[in-house]
């Protein structure tokens, strides 16, 4: 299968840089699959999973919002945070989930704080799901 270059960049550094066969990302308008020689494409990403197929198999990772860009030199994912499923600290995600749930009850009337808590909740749920998908 034709391969293409995938880069995953986060504020902490370069999370991945290598050749892959396909990528599936979750954009604001739904899941999007990318193969080699895809047309130039830009979209915003929401919290979700990312599936990457390489010659060695499929890996999944958790993305919390960002952007994806495809051009002729390859695909670049700019993510606020990214972890491969096997790197996720599930205990920490569970703790974050509990805190976020409490916050959501606490800040019922404060829209901004509620939004932040909701974002954290979604992110924690996404991490937990991604990690458990990996185990299956």
């Amino acid at each position: 299968m034709t391969e293409f270059n995938l880069k995953i960049l986060t504020p902490e550094g370069v999370a991945y840089d290598g050749m892959v066969q396909s990528v599936i990302v979750r954009t604001t308008v739904g899941d999007k699959g990318i193969l080699a020689k895809h047309e130039p494409y830009v979209a915003a990403l929401v919290i979700g999973q990312m599936k990457v197929r390489t010659a060695d198999g499929v890996r999944i990772g958790a993305v919390s919002s960002g952007m994806v860009e495809v051009n002729d030199s390859g695909t670049t994912v700019l993510a606020q945070s990214f972890e491969w499923a096997d790197e996720i600290d599930v205990e920490r995600a569970n703790r974050a989930l509990k805190i976020a749930e409490e916050r959501m009850k606490q800040y019922k009337d404060d829209k901004r704080k509620l939004d932040i808590a909701e974002y954290k909740l979604k992110r924690a749920v996404n991490r937990i799901n991604t990690a458990s998908d990996y185990k299956r």
Binding site: P11, G13, V29, P40, V42, E69, L78, Q80
Partner: protein, 285 residues
């Protein structure tokens, strides 16, 4: 009199010595922290650059591109985001960046302030500025969530017209010895079109539209801009502190040298005096 003088000098030497111990320790702490801070500052850079380049491309590819974030309007109110340190004893680090922000302000203008770092917060609230938000103790372990919070506040203020321009003040980390205070225009994004040589017409598809992607990406761009500059400013702070503490240690050493010379001289004088007394006493007999 001579013995009293000697006691004084001895006490001063002791006090300078203990100060030197502190400055020495601070220098060591700063230089070990500096190494990690430098790495962190450099790790964040490719992400930010890629993000900024992408934003420019989006704006460049569509001919009639215009959103609230690129349009310039008459400037009535401004927001300054100032990044300084949480602690002093870092040479001119804190005062330089505050000075730069003060200079950037026009006559009679009173910008709204988001202060990152205790020193910035203290200064601007004491001088009667309108504080939009304060974030002391953020710099050492800056979290994306905090930066996102700041970015969202700033973007909301700009989009709703509370402010018409946002500027960021931080200290650029040139090298461990050189740090320069810098000013950045955050919003409106200064005509990204001008920044690219030739708009590439690759016929990129945008999901769902260039403007939608752009507007969604703006808070994220500013978030990582803040993370980057806070990391860089923190590395600068440590660099400045290391230099300052090194100088202080050197000065202390010099001072001790000078004081021990004085001490020896006083001692000599005392001995000479005593000898004189003995000799003249013997002569008188």
């Amino acid at each position: 009199m001579a013995s009293g003088n000697m006691k004084d000098i001895k006490r001063r030497v002791k006090s300078v010595e203990s100060t030197m111990q502190i400055t020495k320790a601070m220098r060591l702490v700063a230089s070990s922290k500096l190494r990690r801070a430098k790495q962190k500052a450099q790790a964040a850079r490719p992400f930010f650059e890629a993000q900024y380049a992408l934003m420019c491309r989006i704006a460049g590819e569509t001919s009639n591109f215009s959103t609230v974030f690129t349009r310039r309007r008459e400037v009535k109110n401004r927001l300054f985001i100032v990044i300084a340190g949480d602690r002093g004893l870092a040479g001119g680090y804190n005062s330089n960046i505050i000075k730069l922000a003060e200079q950037a302000k026009k006559d009679g203008e009173s910008p709204k302030i988001i202060a990152i770092g205790k020193k910035a917060a203290d200064y601007f609230s004491k001088h009667g500025y309108e504080m939009t938000a304060e974030y002391p103790g953020l710099a050492e372990h800056v979290k994306t969530a905090d930066a996102a919070d700041i970015a969202q506040t700033a973007v909301d203020m700009f989009a709703s017209g509370v402010v018409d321009e946002i500027r960021l003040f931080y200290t650029e980390f040139v090298s461990p010895l050189v740090q320069t205070p810098a000013e950045l225009e955050v919003l409106p994004i200064s005509s990204p079109k001008a920044k690219i040589a030739a708009p590439n017409k690759m016929g990129t598809t945008f999901d769902p539209s260039p403007e939608a992607v752009f507007n969604r990406a703006i808070p994220k761009l500013i978030t990582s801009l803040i993370v980057c500059s806070v990391n860089e400013a923190y590395a600068s702070e440590l660099g400045a502190r290391r230099t300052a503490m090194e100088n202080a240690t050197d000065n202390a050493e010099e001072m001790i040298e000078h004081l021990s010379l004085m001490y020896n001289r006083a001692r000599q004088e005392k001995i000479t005096n005593e000898l004189n007394e003995i000799v003249s006493g013997a002569n008188a007999l």
